[in-house]
Symmetry: C2
């Protein structure tokens, strides 16, 4: 019996999972370690068990579904992604990678195809970092980039900790269940950008993950009454923050490949008739090389120093998270490329602009990623969409890559 992805089964699983935390606008709100996340986990665990996987949970709440291999002692081939979403997220970001990995196992089972290596489906906890910053918290600990204590102590906006919430939803497992050193790791994901759709390409061969720098920019001005305070006497923190937002955009235009975003802002006291006394905003910088990233960060510092002087405010820039640009493993990248070619799919090589758990895995083990198109390039948006055929093509490349790696490694 030929081993092939069942596109209908994959799609049905995606849609059933999307119902967990579904929003009225067609998106998904499934924040890490929320009740919705627990329900999604419970569903995945049931599906993994139904697919004859041995399910285990580690001390970060990462879920692994293990399918045995023929060769004693062989390291596992691992594929997966995450099930948590941003507050107004879509149906495919994360879920596609987990459920395509599950579909690969189901397809292998249907064809009664044994592999030399064991295979593991992984679902990483809190990839988004939307509830518990920073992003990729659990894979960061498993791959040695963050400490367990730091992860457990991470707090959400209401002050609840990662550790307490993990226990609350019943997904605190054991450290001995963590990911064993894999032979290779491959993650399928939606592109979350417009390149594949715009170039009518079916598969993205991901060569690496861009570097990311996250900073808080704090502006201290002086609160004063919006009525009687002459314009020239103001030390308006929101005005200065606004100039930083505009300058961040300009900064992206100064260096090719650098992208900048101010996604979060808060102002004090945030009252109509008070000149804002303080503001805090986030600065997200991304680039393919560490040089570009550092140059951009130093430019941000210069810009803030200039605005501070001009607007008579104090500005502090604190980088609180930095992820180095990470090229993927050559053999894994080439295996993905050959798998797509063998299946007759059009493909192009590209870098991931978003952080992914594959980045932390790649710091220690051979890893790679596969992208499929996102309609209108939209992601982190309730309108996120990837057509059924694209999902199936991505899963087929994932399965084929697993089979090739199984023969090769």
């Amino acid at each position: 019996m030929a081993c092939a992805i069942d596109s209908g089964r994959l799609w049905d699983s995606l849609m059933e999972m999307a119902a967990v935390g579904a929003t009225p606008a067609g998106g998904v709100r499934r924040l890490a370690l929320s009740d919705e996340d627990r329900a999604a986990r419970d569903l995945l665990v049931r599906w993994l068990a139904d697919a004859h996987c041995a399910v285990r949970v580690d001390d970060l709440g990462n879920i692994y579904g293990h399918r045995g291999g023929e060769q004693p002692g062989a390291a596992p081939l691992v594929c997966g992604s995450h099930l948590d979403t941003v507050p107004t997220g879509g149906r495919f970001d994360g879920a596609l990678g987990v459920l395509a990995a599950l579909e690969a196992v189901r397809a292998l089972n249907d064809a009664r195809q044994r592999m030399r290596h064991p295979m593991e489906v992984v679902c990483w906890t809190n990839e988004e970092g939307a509830r518990f910053p920073p992003a990729m918290l659990a894979s960061g600990v498993v791959c040695g980039q963050l400490t367990l204590d730091a992860a457990y102590a991470a707090r959400d906006a209401r002050g609840l900790t990662f550790g307490d919430e993990l226990r609350r939803i019943g997904y605190q497992g054991s450290a001995e269940h963590r990911l064993p050193a894999p032979a290779a790791y491959v993650e399928l994901h939606v592109e979350q950008g417009p390149i594949l759709e715009r170039t009518r390409t079916q598969i993205g061969i991901v060569e690496g993950v861009e570097g990311i720098s996250w900073s808080w920019v704090a502006v201290a001005g002086r609160a004063s009454h919006a009525g009687p305070t002459p314009m020239e006497d103001r030390r308006d923190a929101l005005l200065a923050a606004s100039r930083i937002v505009s300058a961040l955009r300009t900064l992206a235009g100064e260096a090719p490949g650098v992208r900048t975003t101010a996604g979060h802002i808060e102002v004090t006291p945030n009252t109509i008739n008070v000149v804002p006394g303080a503001a805090r905003l986030s600065a997200d910088l991304r680039a393919r090389s560490e040089d570009l990233l550092e140059t951009a960060w130093h430019r941000l510092q210069e810009i803030c120093a200039a605005i501070a002087k001009e607007d008579s405010v104090a500005i502090q820039v604190d980088e609180f998270w930095h992820s180095n640009p990470t090229p993927f493993h050559h053999a894994v990248v080439e295996t993905v490329a050959e798998s797509a070619r063998a299946l007759g799919y059009s493909s192009r090589r590209m870098w991931a602009g978003a952080g992914h758990d594959a980045k932390y895995v790649a710091d220690r083990y051979p890893a790679g990623m596969i992208f499929v198109p996102s309609r209108d390039g939209l992601s982190h948006n309730e309108a996120e969409w990837t057509p059924r055929e694209d999902c199936a093509r991505g899963a087929a490349v994932l399965l084929a890559a697993m089979q090739r790696l199984d023969r090769m490694l």
Copy 2:
């Protein structure tokens, strides 16, 4: 016995009142109809009763302390201000006007000086509008600019209504207790700006209240992932909002006497790694003439239309509150000026940039205001400060103006 302000007694009352809702930074948080506001009201009612005033409360929660006059049927001379504050307010904004009016009554009592007109000390409810927008809600109803139903239905950020909170704190009185048509109304207030201090002037003779326009500016962009979304594909609502904040500042420079403030901003989803899909900010415009105010508002509309086009976002500007520029009553203004001169205080004529209850009173009755210096021009700030002597000088001018008006009217 000479009738004179007791500067020590006035100061002690100010400091005792400032302890109600005192903040660690030396300011006051006494939001309208909060527990702190209730405590401040209870204290004022006690002091008014101790000063032999007949105390009554109207259906908006405005408190009146009535001191009888000699001439039957004479309209009252009214003075006062408010006791509510912004979230991080100071000790003098509002409280000085109420407690100086109380001190004027105490001084008249001490001197056993009867007046022809009755005198009323008034404390207006929710002047700031910080909790229940718009500002000057209660004087607006009493003076016929707003309806009672609209006032009762006003909601705070938690969804509680003005009416419910007024009942909760026990300060819903009767409509028949509202302000009777006064012979004249005079309100003492801190300047809340730097002009008097900078020009070393002791008393501000307020000739009128500038017009104020409050709008919400709503920006609709498109949320997308901060990583893979190319800069040129973004429809960033915060970037557009930031350009509006900057343009608002420029707009103030285009016309002399126009002041503009963006005091409030909120962004959706407000997450570090999501390009903001929506933003809402406040636009506060102020000017001495209706022409200047309207021109500024139309410029804001033009600016927003241009930014909407350039940034591929939709922008809507909705003016939700408008207060016309209001000159004060000639005879009241001149009486204040003569009172200051007779006391030997330096003075200058100026307009109020902030809204005050005196504005609504002036729409129907003869009214005026007295300003005293604010240190560093600061107000709506916990560091707000007016020295004891300035408070006493302001109260002395208020008392003298009341006595002059009593003889004159």
